[in-house]
Amino acid sequence: MKKSRRDENKQSRRDFLRKGMEGMLAFGAGGAAGVFADDTIRPKPGNHSAIPNASPTSGYDMSKLAEVDPALIRYREKGRFGCDMEESVALWIDNGDLVYVCGDECVNVFDRVGRKRTTLKVGGRPRAVCSVDGDRILVAVGDRIVILDSEGGVLSDTGSLGERSVVTSIAVGGEGTIFAADAGEKCIWKISADGKVLSKNRGDTEGGGVGFVIPSPFFDIAFDADGLLWATNTGEHRIEAYNEEGEISRSWGKPTMAIEGFCGCCNPVNISILNDGRFVTAEKGLPRVKVYSADGEFECVVAPPNSFPGLMRKRPAGRMRALDVAVNSDGEVYVLDTGSSQVRIFVTD
């Protein structure tokens, strides 16, 4: 199919050139006055009848879809700070409440109010960052994970995980075992603390399960307090819990533009888990941040789509952008607004 489409393009180019040549010959035969036969062109300014069922409400009316009942918004923005980079991608908060933002070709580390502590250079465009205690910083760069010390020195490198690998999230489990969500290979890699691949989880493929369905380059994972690894199966609009051996135990989520579900083709793009087991979710398309109970019941909105005007517009050329979320030890929700390259802090009273 791909091939035939390309062939069709070539065909069209050939047609264009051939028709252009025919046109030139006809022009020559017709003499200097033989301008392009204008009767091949039928001027018809403003032919609005060409859209049979067009109406102002048909299609994606973003302002309507973005509407949220104010009573559902139970967080307020406490503050924000700039990421000090052109293109921010992902966010992480460690056990000491240090805030890591990766993007451009670096990781910027801030304290909880946004004072910059350091910049770690990365040889490539990072997509995810993770650190438990600030000593070892794991950064996903393309198809691999690079492990840095707190000064930015390279401790180890997993090497390429797979031919199509695009690592989009990292989490650290028991004994420092590394888990890496790979949107390209549609799997979660289990990797030893020193960087050796141990196993690969393709999701729930038993009994008719379709496994991980990841249409776009967003695939997030996070551990809860009980040691369950939660993964965003975005194409299925579900969040699924796995043990470290890759066995599924629970899942929840449903597709809908309505506030209680996940919108578009593939959401939620990112998640974070509060200390009490509740979930904070971030969506793309309608950039909205919400809180769900530990059982997956919709509870409230942290920030509605209109909070992120830079992401409500059509994206410019470049990487797809989406919100990322993280929570600190006080349960404050940090949102990486990639539309403005700012970290925005939301609290509930």
């Binding site: 032919n47 859209i51 048909s58």
Partner: protein, 195 residues
């Protein structure tokens, strides 16, 4: 007139005819030269054609309504390497579909120009029937805002007559119409720029 003069005369006559015929030939050559030069100039001037920069299009629907041709020379194209083959394709389905099936009430395309084909579970392929597409950009908007942006509009050069002043270009709010070389007239997205 002596024979010699006659011969000269004849020679003179020949010369006059020769001069006139040579002049005519010269004029013809000059004329053809002008025409050729004119054509060459035209060819040089027409070595670019109109195309849409997919990153600038803001899905206003003018491409369906403003083209001098009917239906428009602009059509949607599907760039398969970017497509997620989603079950819930936001370029195919209405924002709030009743069912995820091919029922007309669930589709966003006003002309039914998108063909949905089931591949291996849970993936689906979406193909544009260019003869039905009118370039309205509704699917482009859904795919771009919620999906991977694999649907986008392009001026199809087997249809476009390359107006000096493209009627869509003058009304395009995204200023997405650009001139591109006729030998390479399509602007494609790439995996990299899609994410």
């Amino acid at each position: 007139m002596s024979k010699a003069e006659k011969e000269k005369g004849i020679e003179r006559g020949h010369s006059r005819r020769g001069f006139l015929s040579g002049g005519f030939r010269g004029a013809m050559l000059f004329f053809f030269g002008m025409v050729t030069g004119f054509f060459t100039g035209k060819v040089r001037a027409e070595r670019t054609v109109w195309q849409i920069d997919p990153f600038k299009c803001v899905f206003c629907t003018n491409c369906a309504t403003e083209c001098v041709l009917e239906p428009s020379a602009v059509r949607c194209v599907q760039y398969y390497p970017i497509c997620g083959y989603c079950k819930l394709c936001t370029g195919y389905f209405d924002p709030q579909p009743i069912n995820l099936d091919t029922g007309a009430e669930n589709q966003i395309c006003p002309t039914g120009a998108i063909i949905r084909t089931k591949l291996e579970d849970p993936y689906y392929e979406y193909t544009i029937d260019e003869e039905l597409c009118i370039g309205c950009a509704k699917c482009v908007e859904g795919c771009e805002l919620f999906g991977n942006g694999s649907f986008f509009l392009q001026v199809r050069h087997d249809k476009c007559v390359n107006c000096n002043e493209c009627a869509i270009a003058v009304s395009c709010p995204g200023q997405a119409f650009v001139r591109v070389p006729a030998g390479d007239p399509y602007l494609l997205k790439t995996r990299e720029t899609a994410g």
